[in-house]
């Protein structure tokens, strides 16, 4: 359990850095969704399944959805 927790927290750090370093916005939204899922895994490992579910739906689904919809609109405007 402890090993899994340490690994998951480290993975959150790695993916968080990856989100910042990703330059392309579409890719960034994808990496951000992945980051949110790993964060949910951390919550789960620390026995907070309710927080994990909220994390999955907000960070893994709703936020990327909003970013994608906005990007689609912005690209339509640029053309």
């Amino acid at each position: 359990m402890t090993v899994a927790r340490i690994l998951a927290v480290l993975l959150v750090g790695v993916l968080g850095t990856a989100v910042v370093l990703t330059r392309d916005t579409v890719h960034q939204a994808l990496v951000f969704g992945l980051f949110g899922l790993v964060l949910a895994l951390v919550f789960l490992l620390y026995m907070a399944p309710d927080a994990a579910l909220a994390q999955v739906v907000v960070s893994g689904l709703v936020v990327p959805l909003l970013i994608f919809v906005t990007l689609a609109e912005l690209r339509g405007r640029a053309e």
Partner: protein, 256 residues
Amino acid sequence: MSSRRTRGRRRLLVFAAGGGMLALAFVVGLVDLAPATSADSDLAAALVELAVEQRSPNTVSGVLFDLRATDTLGEALALFAASAGLQLVLRELPGEQRRSEPRSGAPGREAPPTSDAVRAAALALVVPTAVFAVYVTFRGHLGLGGGLQAGALAVTALALVFLAGRYRAQRHFAPDRQLDILEAVSLGGYVVVGLAGLVVAGAFLANVLPLGVLGELVSSGTILALSLLVAIEAGAAVLLIVAEVQEEPLEREEPG
């Protein structure tokens, strides 16, 4: 005007200061942190006792929709304010034409075709996601789920319909006007339940509905009712935000 290099150095300096402070706060916080497995603490015991008393096996929901239901009302209000604020900022101004179709459907623009794999996967996921959303919606007081999560899952099911290239179907399921009403009524319902508690039991948001039997679908009194109301409110708010961004009027006529 500073050169690009000194600006980069300044940025790094600001990052080092901020990051250093964050790291310090993190370490201090970790040292003081209570052990994660403190299920036998007095607080945990009191919360479990309260949850059983209110017939809500899910202690978290017992806290969210009973003990700290006022906090949850604040959170629901924040979501309501976010969607209302966005509608205000992106409202139709004189001289702007509201598009009835999404940009990808505008004439003269080649919409990149959605790949068949994405369509098939999205279509295949619509029904399971919708079923899961319903399951989570009605389970908040018994186990995982309820409230915001349920609403967001329902929105995901609709987003999958959109992803599968059925935009019209999605519009049909999510007409703005009705969503506005649904959002306002569900948030108002939350306050009404709270006021009922004030009138009947003398405390705002007191659990005044019949509690039922522990573990049954219809039980836990206002916990289930408030959880359902928040699910509707959150789902409508998120859907309205997405719809509003999609519909933002882009054509502005030049004056004169």
